[in-house]
C-alpha cells in the first residue's frame, strides 16, 4: 500500500469517526432519571431493578458475554444461583449470542458446547456435544448459537474454551417455558 493510500485512509477514518452520530437521551429520560435519584438510595434497590430488567430483556433474543481471559488467573465457577439463565419455548428456535472477549488474539482455541438432554443446537440434531477449532481476535468475538428445546426438562449448557493447555468453562441455565416467553398460547 502506498503512502498516499495510507494517508487517505487516515483521513477517511478521522472523518468517519467525526460522523458517528451523537447519542441523545430519549425524551423525558433526564426527568425520569432525576426523579429516580430521590427514591434510589441503596445499591440493593438498583440490583433488584436490574434483575427485573434482565428478565424482561430475556423475552427478546438473549446475549451472553463470556470473558475468556485465558491469560488471567483461573476464576472460580459461579455459584449456582449466579448462573445466568435463558428461557426457551418448546420447539421454538432461539438465538443466544455468546461474546468471547479475549485479552489477546488466540489461534487454534477449541470450543466445546455440551448440551443438556432435550436441548439441541440448530443444525446439529441429536448431538449432545459439539467441538470445533476457532481463532479469537483481541477484543470481542461474537458467536450466535441457535438453541431448540425438544423436551420440557431444561438443564445446564456448558461452554468450554481451551487454548494452550488451559481452559475456561461457562455455564448457562436453560429453562423451558410452559408457554412461549411472550405469553401467547401455543
Amino acid at each position: 500500500m502506498t503512502t498516499e493510500h495510507s494517508d487517505n485512509h487516515d483521513r477517511e477514518l478521522l472523518e468517519l469517526l467525526r460522523e458517528l452520530p451523537a447519542p441523545e437521551a430519549p425524551p423525558g429520560f433526564y426527568d425520569r432519571a432525576l426523579a429516580r435519584v430521590a427514591h434510589r438510595g441503596s445499591r440493593r434497590q438498583r440490583n433488584r431493578w436490574l434483575a427485573t430488567g434482565f428478565a424482561a430483556a430475556l423475552a427478546a433474543t438473549a446475549a451472553f458475554w463470556v470473558v475468556a481471559g485465558l491469560l488471567l488467573d483461573k476464576p472460580e465457577l459461579p455459584h449456582d444461583d449466579a448462573i445466568p439463565g435463558v428461557t426457551l419455548a418448546l420447539e421454538q428456535p432461539r438465538t443466544v449470542n455468546f461474546v468471547f472477549a479475549s485479552a489477546t488474539a488466540l489461534d487454534s482455541a477449541m470450543l466445546t458446547i455440551s448440551l443438556p438432554d432435550g436441548i439441541e443446537l440448530q443444525g446439529f440434531p441429536g448431538r449432545r456435544q459439539i467441538t470445533w477449532e476457532t481463532s479469537l481476535r483481541e477484543g470481542k468475538n461474537l458467536l450466535p448459537l441457535t438453541l431448540v428445546a425438544l423436551s420440557p426438562a431444561g438443564g445446564e449448557l456448558l461452554a468450554t474454551l481451551e487454548h494452550d493447555a488451559r481452559d475456561r468453562s461457562f455455564r448457562l441455565r436453560v429453562m423451558i417455558a410452559e408457554e412461549p416467553p411472550d405469553g401467547t398460547p401455543g
Partner: protein, 179 residues
C-alpha cells in the same frame, strides 16, 4: 433543608451537565442500556455527595471523573464475574441502534453501512483504546482533558490513540470499507 429542597438544589447543579454526561456514558460503554445504567448510577452517587458538590467550582468535570471511575469499577467487576447476560444493544455492530443521527439512514445507505462497520470495528477494540479514540476523535476532547478525566498520562494516551487508529484502519481496510 427539606427533602424536596435538597432534590431541587441537586437538580439545579447537575441539569446543565446532563447532555455531556449522557454522551460520555455512551462513549464509555458503547451501548444504550449500559450507558443509561451508568448515567443513573452517577446521579444516584452524586446525590449522596450533594454537600461536596455544592462546594465545587466546576461540577461538570467532577461529575465526568466520577462517571469514569464508576465505569472502571464496573468493568473490573465484569472481568471478575466472567459471564454476563446483556441486552442485544451491547453487541458489536449494534451500538448505533439506539442512537439518534442527523440523517435518516435509509436516505444515505452507504454512509450508514460505513458507520455500522466502524461501530463494529470499535467494538473489537479493548476499552482502553476504544474510549480514547472516541473521546479524542469523535467527541473532540484534547489529550490533556482526557488525562484530567482518566488520570492516564498523556504519553500513554497518545500511544493508545495511535494504536487504536491503526487497528481501526486495518479492520476497515480488511472489510472493504476503505479501498
Amino acid at each position: 433543608m427539606s427533602s424536596s429542597e435538597h432534590h431541587l438544589a441537586f437538580e439545579r447543579l447537575v441539569r446543565p451537565h446532563l447532555d455531556r454526561l449522557y454522551r460520555l456514558a455512551w462513549r464509555l460503554t458503547g451501548a444504550k442500556d449500559e450507558a443509561e445504567d451508568l448515567f443513573q448510577e452517577l446521579l444516584t452517587r452524586a446525590f449522596t455527595k450533594l454537600d461536596d458538590l455544592v462546594e465545587i467550582d466546576e461540577p461538570g468535570p467532577w461529575l465526568c471523573r466520577v462517571m469514569y471511575n464508576l465505569f472502571i469499577d464496573e468493568r473490573r467487576r465484569f472481568t471478575r464475574q466472567r459471564l454476563h447476560v446483556v441486552d442485544e444493544g451491547s453487541l458489536p455492530g449494534e451500538g448505533l441502534a439506539g442512537m439518534a443521527g442527523p440523517d435518516d439512514p435509509a436516505e444515505n445507505h452507504a454512509r450508514d453501512v460505513r458507520l455500522r462497520r466502524l461501530d463494529a470495528a470499535l467494538a473489537q477494540l479493548g476499552d482502553d483504546h476504544r474510549v480514547v479514540v472516541l473521546l479524542h476523535d469523535t467527541e473532540g476532547y484534547k489529550l490533556t482533558e482526557i488525562h484530567e478525566l482518566t488520570g492516564i498520562p498523556v504519553g500513554t494516551l497518545k500511544s493508545r490513540l495511535s494504536r487504536a487508529r491503526a487497528r481501526l484502519r486495518e479492520m476497515l481496510e480488511a472489510d472493504g470499507t476503505f479501498s
